[in-house]
Amino acid sequence: MHRRRNWEGTESIVELFTGVTIDWLGKKWYFLAFSLIFSVSGIISMGMHYARTGSPVPLGVDFKGGTEVQVTFASAPDANQVRNATDAAGIHDVKIVAYDVPAKHELLISLPEQSDVNVDSSRKQILDALRQHYNNPILESSVQAVGPTVGRQLEKQAGLATLYSLVGMLVYLWFRFELIYGVAAVVAVFHDTLITVGAFALTGQEISLTVIAAILTLVGYSMNDTIVVFDRIRENLRISRREGLADVVNRSINQTLSRTVLTSGLTFLTVLALYIFGGKVLSGFSFALVVGILIGTYSSIAVAAPMLVAYQDWRMHRGKAATLPAAKRSR
């Protein structure tokens, strides 16, 4: 960062990263190693989670089915006492989480797996057990009871919608740039999603519907970031046809670096605000975004752009035309 006097003699412009000449592609092996470590540890933690529970990530009630009752007590509840109450009523496997602010006396009580036949029965069982045990009135502030069929349908549909939207983006990029650009962008986005979801498996946080919204947000964000770099590459390729692709890519990344840092920084700021003020309802959501924005910014530089160069090297190695995969159309 440096300051300088402008023409009118008044004080200062603040600028970041002007005239940097970092050789990003020279570090591609580090990037590869870094991405591999994170992707592989994501896959491993998903695998371990799969071995333990039969699903690669901890799924919320939305997806796996089950009942989740948020109960407000008259006075501070004791989780053990609640567990005794449910055990006495013959309900086992309950999960009890103290919810949000302690002053509110809230607990989140959940029961896994439910039949489709009577989704409401677990809620009634839990509340009956509690009402028998506590004389003070207890209040249910929210209930989710999801049959396993609906959960599976939702899981499939959210996955399919995301897949279709990725294909849509790939086709658009193919049309605007070249197929390899679309492929590289989608691979980068996939890489981000994999690592973020892996982080959920690693930390044991549940993936709920709001987290899906966060993952969609990070897909959009990462894609945006990648396209900005690609756009600059396309522009530079037109100007300097004799320069090697690796140099052009390096220069493009450097030219857009101040923008990249600014935008990621600002978006990170917004997400941080969400994480701090958003409360427990949004914690999974903001967690996904915090991880996603870091990885999304990184992947545009370290995954998507090097893929273009790797593709071109591969084509040259195969003895095909050494032309750059430049954009077909531009204005």
């Binding site: 502030s141 919204a213 969609l216 396209i227 923008r259």
Partner: protein, 541 residues
């Protein structure tokens, strides 16, 4: 060289006014409360933000198929009798495939007559196959007919549920097909927290039917006894129903009745039901009224069956058995122990018509209004804090041009909310995620433009030219990033439901707004600033 910007500025102010109208409509006053009321009327909040109940119901369409083929069985029997064709029985061989009907033991001599009779009368609705080895004919409902029937059942269920919910006074309910699974209905009831009562009424199949009693009018003690009275086989046109009607038994215990399968009147033949108070002997009852067509049918039947017994069946239980003393036209009474809730529910379900099939809830959520309010508060605080922090930073970093960015961002949010108001879309918690991505990309557009202008200035270009070039270059990038994400939002909107859709809606509108504000509005502000500057002066960026 000065540009004339009046037209563009007018366009921007016009847009601002139009979308402010989208958010507020025409408020009744300018006080805070009036504005708040105006907003809540225009911008619909999802259940996760305002509290309420959400149900996904599975319609058991098999019920409707069963009813349809029961009817066909009766028609086949009638047709065979009319044409004097001999057969042993008409049955539905498998309860799991209610669309299949079999005519057994057809006299081989009548085989071709039966074949033509069946295909004449039922050929448009059923595929007919004959089996010469055991002289039977199998009628299978055509797949197109079956699909049509299922679709009609679903629509009818939705209609009925909507009618019931409306009469319960729930405002702004959502009742529609749920796209994910076959034969599922989504019901959203804003503001409803005590779901039990409403759910009972929604899914009440309380079909009121009147059937002819085939066996002993006093009933049997058990199913075995009832079956034994017929020599072990229940004829296909009859069936067993449990019940404990008053006056039949002194012990008040469960009895089994043998009834004709096809009802005399039932379901939509009833128009209304009301409670009749305890009479001298302390009995309560329900008074029911039939529709004109139903009344005519009931009259035709009762006038020719004086002395026969009829059973009143409610929700698959016999509630009353009565002897027909004289012809009855369009109203009657059912005596029995009914609670006020039962009668209210019955009255409501009769007035709204019966559901064509039974309904099972497979997902149920309620969000307390206070929890919803908490989510709003937290979401809004987070969004506002984030936006303010970003705006502050833009001013600090880009100084004069930061004002451009902030104005563009503000206008973007106005347009986004205005779109939501105009399109009657619902704002949900995931929708707030879409707003956050929109803010991010809006800021990004400005950053792209400003960085590019700075770059052009570093390359030695004058202010006007730098702005011109900066916008021209950044525009291409902005179009690419926005169109890509708009494409993805549109796809998510088409294929997604619930939260995915909520996210896609705000993102889609937000990015459209962004293309306008970040590029057009920001440019106009720059140009008007350039107009007022001395030649050769430097812009603040």
């Amino acid at each position: 060289m000065k540009k004339n910007l009046n037209g563009k500025i007018a366009l921007i102010i016009g847009t601002l006014l139009v979308f402010l109208y989208g958010i507020f409509g025409i408020p009744k006053g300018v006080s805070g409360a009036a504005l708040e009321q105006a907003i809540t009327q225009r911008i619909h909040l999802g259940l996760d933000l305002r509290g309420g109940a959400h149900l996904i119901l599975q319609v058991v369409v098999k019920d409707a198929v069963n009813a349809e083929t029961d009817n066909t069985v009766a028609r086949i029997e009638q047709a065979m009798a009319d044409s004097h064709l001999a057969y042993t029985q008409v049955i539905k061989p498998d309860p799991n495939t209610p669309q299949v009907i079999r005519v057994d033991g057809v006299d081989p001599a009548h085989s071709s007559a039966v074949s033509s009779e069946l295909s004449d009368r039922f050929g448009t609705e059923y595929d007919i196959a004959s089996n010469s080895s055991d002289h039977s004919f199998t009628l299978t409902m055509k797949p197109s007919q079956l699909a049509d029937l299922e679709s009609r059942t679903l629509d009818q269920s939705i209609e009925t549920i909507r009618d019931r919910v409306d009469r319960l006074g729930v405002s702004e309910p959502v009742i529609q097909r749920y796209g994910l699974g076959a034969n599922e209905i989504l019901v959203e009831l804003p503001g409803v927290e005590d779901l039990d009562r409403i759910k009972d009424i929604i899914q009440s199949t309380s079909r009121l039917e009147v059937h002819e009693v085939a066996g002993n009018p006093d009933g049997y003690a058990s199913e075995q006894e009832a079956t034994a009275s017929l020599g072990g086989v229940i004829p296909p046109d009859q069936y067993l129903v449990h019940g404990d009607p008053q006056g039949v038994s002194s012990d008040g215990g469960d009895h089994v009745f043998l009834l004709k399968r096809v009802s005399i009147v039932g379901g939509r033949d009833f128009r209304d039901a009301s409670a009749i108070g305890p009479n001298d002997s302390g009995r309560q009852g329900v008074n029911f009224v039939l529709t004109n067509a139903g009344g005519q049918r009931f009259y035709d039947y009762t006038s020719t069956h004086v002395g026969s017994y009829m059973a009143i069946v409610l929700g698959d239980r016999v509630k009353n058995v009565a002897v027909i003393k004289s012809a009855i036209r369009d109203n009657g009474q059912i005596e029995g122990q009914f609670s006020k809730e039962q009668i209210d529910a019955l009255s409501l379900t009769l007035r709204t018509g019966a559901l064509p099939a039974s309904i099972i809830p497979i997902e149920q959520r309620t969000v307390g209004a206070s929890l919803g309010a908490d989510s709003i508060r937290q979401g809004v605080i987070a969004a506002v804090a984030g936006t303010l922090a970003v705006m502050f930073f833009m001013l600090l970093y880009y100084r004069g041009a930061g004002i451009n960015a902030d104005l563009a961002l503000f206008l973007n949010l106005v347009i986004l909310l205005g779109f939501m108001g105009f399109s009657q879309s619902t704002l949900t918690l995931p929708g707030i995620a879409g707003v956050i991505l929109t803010i991010g990309m809006g800021v990004d557009s400005n950053v792209l433009i400003f960085e590019r202008i700075r770059e052009e200035m570093r390359a030695g270009k004058g202010a006007a030219q730098a702005v011109d070039q900066g916008f021209a270059h950044a525009w291409v990038t902005i179009v690419d990033t926005h169109v890509t994400t708009i494409v993805s939002a549109a796809i998510l909107f088409m294929f997604g439901t619930g939260p995915v859709k909520g996210f896609a809606v705000t993102l889609f509108f937000g990015l459209l707004a962004n293309l306008f504000t970040a590029v057009f509005v920001s440019r106009v502000i720059f140009d008007s600033h350039l107009n007022s500057m001395k030649a050769g002066a430097r812009i603040s960026i």
